[in-house]
Symmetry: C2
Subunit: 133 residues, 2 copies
Amino acid sequence: MKKVRRRSFLTQAVVATAATAVATPSLANTAKKIFIHHVYFWLKNPSSEADKNKLIEGLTALSKVPTIRFHHIGVPASTNRSVIERGYAVSWMLFFDNLEEEEVYQKHPIHLKFVEDYSHLWEKVIVYDSVQV
Amino acid sequence: MKKVRRRSFLTQAVVATAATAVATPSLANTAKKIFIHHVYFWLKNPSSEADKNKLIEGLTALSKVPTIRFHHIGVPASTNRSVIERGYAVSWMLFFDNLEEEEVYQKHPIHLKFVEDYSHLWEKVIVYDSVQV
């Protein structure tokens, strides 16, 4: 634990949960309750690699909002079963400490600028906000 | 880095990425490419708290599949905008090191047992598999 304590409190929670997940997964829920904000983007031009890359560039800049504890920018994997949704172009997954920090993100100037500069690229977004049980 | 090196390699990737996300978010993508498997469950009896808790109990057991690097069991947050999907009952988010490890999970006896014992509870699942860019 000593090593973990030297880290910042914010990092610690993710570290503790991740470490728990590897060692004793059932205990992971005793750690901080992570708020997940997961967004899937469908592009106006789904076949445009340039538009996809531009969106990824925008998300990379967006990841600098300070209340984000962890971010993951993804694209659909090659897995393909009937229950798998593969039509989206980019996945944007964020960890927050709580709902309030996510609301700070929503109103943050970097986020507002991202929407202003990049929203012309997407046709649809679906958002799933989930609180750890 | 010394502290990180003492951890297992598998934990290390998540720790490194998480730490990077806090300190310098734009560098997070230089770390290991995490495979996210995110499943959303819609219950046959959406109003049944008992069924929801039973599914959560099943997922907690399922989290013991050894290739899972991180898991998060969630429920819809109170956020409510037109783009937010709130109809699902439970969110199940997993990190894997790569596609192959996710395939091990799919075929693992704990996973097969979970489907056998709990699939009567859900009406629909949507799966999003995303690979970090």
